[in-house]
């Protein structure tokens, strides 16, 4: 029996290769994700190991909000440095500060990093402690000196001795580059830019004069480290702690690994979607194979093969296919990871030298998932194989019986309904696993129901083709209708892909519309000033902007983290003086006047979910000033742009050390001259964006579209696998209809007519899958959007024209998928085809 299985596998290498390709791509996606994130994790651990290699201890404020590397901590008094230095066993101690400082490139634009921080730090002259290594020039000496990281210097063409302007929370200032520095062996810190100043200059730039963020300590050789740590701790004031260098490494590594795990989870979701679609393709291929081998399998039964042996034979074929293709996929995964790494390098992120990490887990998961999906997908066809009666070897092939179709219909309906219920519960909760399970049920259910729709829908879709292409189109249409089950199964893979694409389209369009609407609902200012990238608006900007003739009102907007009812939240603050002219607050209770009284405003959604009302008291905590209780002074209609919690700027400034200005809202006399004057007045701040409300909306839309683009690209693989499924089915159909094609050729069908016939069938298949997918996906998208009403997606938009484009694209992709099978069919040797049994 094993021999029969192997011979069966080898006899159909081509169809096997196509089936395998679906698994290969899916597994490559999974293993590529694992390899990449493992590698990044490892390189970051190594990097932080290098950075803190020489540091024995660090003295720092205890975490006020959050924990570990991302915690908010209070600064230390500079005088603490001398105290620490006096502790016996401390060989060296250096204080440092860290904050926002952004270089301005030669072209006058602020250098952006695409997400990574733009850091300003104090240069530590003690080479015993510092992780920075100067590779050209020397350390900063005067208040006009700066050391630049080698990555930025290389990319933007800066050399020692040149002047460079630097944007900070204070004024924009020019410095002289005295040196270029590296981090151990890496030329920058994973994409971040770095400006290192003398300590006093750094304190000035990051506005922490007289304060330190931390003190790095090196112990004297021979001193007992535990003793030194205890002695340091003994001299520290309350709210200050001493931790080991290893703690710092661990905290940073775990912060990185946490943010990477989000990244890898997102990628894995798309990898599994690809494999899910691949599962449909495999199911379909094995169904067709079992169908085509009915006689062979029945003959096996006649000569004495048991049902179990037949079942096992089919599953073994699946398992071997899965195993081989998973192994290939794993290998390709390394390539995928290398490609992604090259991509990161292209974005200027030079990862420290570290080889690719190939964990045993990657191999295990890749093989298990690849083989698992293949075998599970083959169970259905294997059961069908078992049901073939021995007598089938003698007669004609049996067709789908009505009974099995009816049972399929019942099961399909049940599954689809269960899926809808799961999805609804999942979205309401919200529980992402339930949403996923619901979607899977809906897709499988829809795939089971699809054969019912296959014949009538194919007929309708094919009608214009038959009219346009004559007999070729007609035959293509007939072929797509002759086996509704096969048509439906083939189209199902594409259905899943298109459903997700459609759901994302609906979500994206609704998000775009909602964010646009929220701009109009929240902002009445004419101009909106924000810092680009991860930058900050300089503290001197409000004054500069207000002084411009034509500007009639100015509102400053601050934003930072605080704790409310013991959970981290974002607090927004606005200056109250000209509030009415720049910001729209639709109060449902209380008044905006409460802001000036130092009270808290909350949005209606939060008020409902937290059961808060005007006059209520909420416990809050700030990093600097500690716990307090705020009175709820009013409730406004929820708006994504404003956020959930609002206080006055005056209140905010008194509770935060270095309040970072998030935006500035300007009301002007409405003239174009005023807009221009503002832009001109703010030219010295190269990190600022001055936007009209329309431009601001555009930026919001652009970021939504960028995200959508990425998601579409990731779903592209699933669509590609669905197309492979179409190629596969068409190849099998061409093979199955060899005689028929031979006959057509004999009675006068031209090669191009044969090609047109196969292409018509493919286009019908693709449109069929796309239509069902788009319908299901639109439904899912609407459900998703309505569940996010609370999160600020208030408008539901079905982007009809975009969905139509996807439909047409699917038809086009169907054409592409048909090209190989069509060519093969056209090249069939007429005589051999007629003679074929």
């Amino acid at each position: 029996m094993r021999n029969v299985t192997l011979k069966g596998l080898l006899a159909h290498k081509l169809r096997l290769a196509l089936t395998a390709l679906a698994i290969v791509l899916g597994v490559a996606f999974i293993s590529g994700t694992f390899v990449l994130t493992d590698t990044l994790n490892n390189t970051f651990s190594v990097l932080f190991g290098n950075v803190y290699q020489k540091v024995d201890f660090q003295v720092r404020g205890v975490a006020q909000l959050g924990s570990g590397a991302n915690a908010t901590r209070n600064e230390l008094p500079e005088s603490l440095l001398a105290t620490v230095r006096r502790v016996p066993g401390v060989e060296a101690a250096e204080g440092g500060v860290e904050g926002y400082a952004q270089f301005v490139a030669h072209d006058g634009k602020a250098i952006q990093t695409g997400g990574a921080p733009t850091l300003g730090i104090s240069f530590d002259p003690d080479q015993q402690i510092s992780a920075l290594r100067i590779i050209a020039g020397g350390p900063p000496v005067t208040s006009g000196d700066v050391v630049m990281d080698a990555g930025t210097a290389q990319k933007y063409g800066f050399t020692v001795g040149q002047r460079v302007r630097i944007v900070s929370a204070g004024a924009v200032r020019a410095f002289t580059i005295t040196g270029i520095a590296e981090f151990g062996s890496a030329n920058n810190l994973a994409g971040a830019t770095l400006a290192a100043f003398t300590l006093p200059t750094a304190q000035d730039v990051v506005q922490e004069t007289g304060h330190l963020d931390d003190i790095d300590v090196v112990t004297a050789p021979g001193a007992g480290k535990a003793v030194v740590q205890r002695d340091i701790a003994a001299v520290l004031p309350p709210g200050v702690q001493v931790v080991t260098g290893q703690t710092l490494v661990n905290e940073n590594a775990s912060a990185i690994s946490q943010s990477l795990s989000f990244f890898s989870t997102a990628l894995l979701v798309f990898a599994f979607i690809s494999l899910f679609v691949g599962g449909f393709t495999i199911f379909n291929t094995f169904s067709i194979i079992v169908g085509q081998r009915t006689r062979e399998l029945a003959l096996l039964r006649i000569v004495g093969a048991s049902r179990r042996q037949v079942f096992r034979s089919v599953l073994t074929e699946a398992a071997i296919t899965g195993l081989v293709s998973s192994a290939i996929g794993l290998g390709l995964g390394v390539l995928a990871a290398l490609g992604l790494e090259a991509l990161l390098r292209g974005f200027g992120i030079t990862l420290p030298a570290g080889s690719l990490v190939f964990e045993p887990r990657t191999v295990l998961v890749g093989l298990a998932v690849g083989v698992g999906v293949t075998v599970v997908a083959a169970i259905g066809p294997a059961r069908n194989a078992v049901r073939i009666p021995p007598v089938a070897a003698l007669g004609d092939r049996q067709s789908d019986s009505d009974v099995s179709l009816r049972r399929r219909f019942a099961w399909g309906t049940a599954l689809a309904v269960a899926g809808v219920v799961l999805l609804a519960i999942g979205l309401a909760k919200p529980a992402i696993q339930l949403v996923g399970a619901g979607a899977v049920c809906i897709f499988v259910g829809a795939a089971m129901l699809a054969p019912v729709a296959a014949r009538p829908l194919s007929s309708v879709i094919g009608r214009p083709l038959a009219r346009a292409l004559g007999v070729s189109g007609k035959l293509g249409r007939e072929n797509s209708m002759r086996s509704p089950r096969r048509t439906a199964q083939t189209a199902s893979a594409l259905m899943v892909g298109l459903a997700l694409v459609a759901a994302i389209s609906v979500f994206g369009a609704s998000l775009s519309r909602s964010s646009t609407a929220s701009v109009d609902d929240a902002i009445s200012a004419d101009l909106i000033l924000t810092a680009n990238g991860s930058g900050q608006v300089s503290g001197s900007v409000p004054a500069a902007a207000s002084a411009v003739p034509g500007v009639t009102a100015t509102t400053t907007v601050y934003r930072s983290q605080f704790e409310l009812q013991n959970t981290l939240a974002t607090l927004t603050a606005v200056s109250t003086q000209h509030l009415a002219g720049t910001l729209i607050l639709r109060m449902t209770a209380g008044t905006t006047a409460a802001l000036a009284r130092g009270e808290l405003l909350i949005d209606s959604t939060t008020a409902t979910s937290k059961h808060l009302s005007v006059g209520g008291a909420v416990p809050v905590r700030f990093a600097r000033t500690g716990s307090s209780v705020l009175r709820v002074g009013g409730i406004y209609q929820a708006n994504a742009l404003i956020g959930s919690y609002l206080v006055s700027a005056a209140f905010f400034v008194s509770h935060f050390t270095n309040p970072s200005l998030a935006a500035l809202l300007l009301r002007t006399n409405g003239s174009a001259a005023a807009d221009k004057a503002v832009t001109n007045a703010l030219a010295p701040y190269p990190n600022l964006q001055v936007q009209t409300r329309a431009q601001f909306e555009q930026t919001q839309n652009a970021s939504v579209n960028q995200l959508l683009g990425l998601v579409y690209a990731l779903l592209g693989l699933a669509v590609l696998i669905a197309l492979i499924g179409i190629v596969n089915t068409l190849m099998l159909s061409v093979f199955e209809r060899t005689r028929e094609i031979g006959l057509l050729r004999a009675v006068g069908m031209m090669r191009r007519q044969v090609r047109a016939m196969i292409r018509s069938e493919a286009v019908i298949l693709a449109i069929f899958g796309a239509i069902i997918g788009i319908i299901i996906g639109t439904g899912m998208g609407i459900a998703l959007v309505s569940s996010l009403k609370q999160q600020g997606i208030t408008d539901t938009v079905v982007p009809a024209s975009r969905l139509l484009v996807f439909l047409l694209l699917s038809a086009l992709l169907g054409l592409v998928a048909a090209s190989w099978p069509a060519r093969r069919a056209a090249k069939l040797d007429v005589l051999a085809a007629i003679a074929a049994e």
Binding site: E740, L743, V747
Partner: protein
């Protein structure tokens, strides 16, 4: 559309419907070479019903394939009318088969997804031409398949299927019809009906038919029988009957 047979009803009437000159077909090479056709020169006259007979492996099917533009000979020429079909490319051959030759095979003659009527008019549809409804009606009536036109092949009996195939072969009024064991899968009644129809279409419509068969009774319907053995013509019998064919086969076989 001007049908080829109409253009050929005039002065070329005397030329054979198809003929071959020293036709050879060799499979393999050297010692292992098999000569399916070992130099056949034969003519099939216009307006006649010719049967080609011979034992298995005598080359009768290969001869038909080479003369109908389904296969290419190793050497030699074959003509349809006075057209040397060896000079045609695939598109030319396809067009030739579509417009000037009719086919009736032993089995699997019809496209399962098309109705009987659609199968009959398939060559016309492939050419993008208009169906001659009067001619179609005549054929359908003659073949007695008028009530089966809307049915798919799977709903037709074997005899009905072959009659539909005959109608398709005739729909373009071809120069020549090649029938390859057309009654091979039929019972004797259906066979007799089909052969009688082929006979009539020669007599009444002036159709030219070449039929490959191994059935002496079937050959008895023909005007002439050409006997093949080992890839060569070994005999020629005018106005055969089942008995004379049988007798000739015996002498040839000896």
């Amino acid at each position: 559309m001007v049908l080829p047979s109409q253009t050929l009803t005039g002065d070329t009437r005397a030329a054979p419907a198809a003929h071959s000159v020293d036709l050879r077909k060799t499979y393999g090479a050297g010692q292992a070479a098999v000569h399916a056709l070992a130099g056949i020169t034969v003519a099939f006259e216009r307006g006649r019903f010719t049967a080609v007979m011979g034992p298995s492996g005598s080359g009768k099917s290969t001869l038909m394939h080479c003369m109908a533009g389904l296969d290419r000979p190793t050497s030699g020429q074959s003509f349809v009318g006075d057209l040397d079909i060896g000079k045609l490319d695939d598109a030319g051959l396809t067009k030739l088969r579509r417009d000037r030759i009719g086919f009736v095979f032993q089995s699997f003659n019809l496209i399962p997804t098309l109705t009987a009527a659609e199968n009959i008019t398939l060559p016309v549809a492939l050419a993008g031409a208009k169906v001659d409804q009067e001619w179609l009606g005549y054929l359908v009536k003659q073949l007695g398949i008028g009530d089966r036109l809307a049915h798919r092949p799977s709903e037709l009996s074997g005899g009905q299927q072959q009659r539909v195939a005959c109608a398709r072969a005739l729909i373009n009024k071809p120069d020549l019809i090649f029938a390859d064991e057309p009654t091979g899968n039929l019972d004797s009644n259906a066979s007799a009906d089909l052969l009688a129809f082929l006979r009539r279409s020669v007599q009444e419509l002036g159709q030219s038919i070449v039929m490959v068969t191994h059935d002496p009774r079937g050959a008895g319907y023909a005007d002439r029988v050409v006997f093949l053995a080992d890839g060569t013509v070994v005999g020629d019998l005018e106005r055969p009957t089942a008995d004379t064919v049988l007798e000739r086969m015996r002498t040839l076989g000896a």
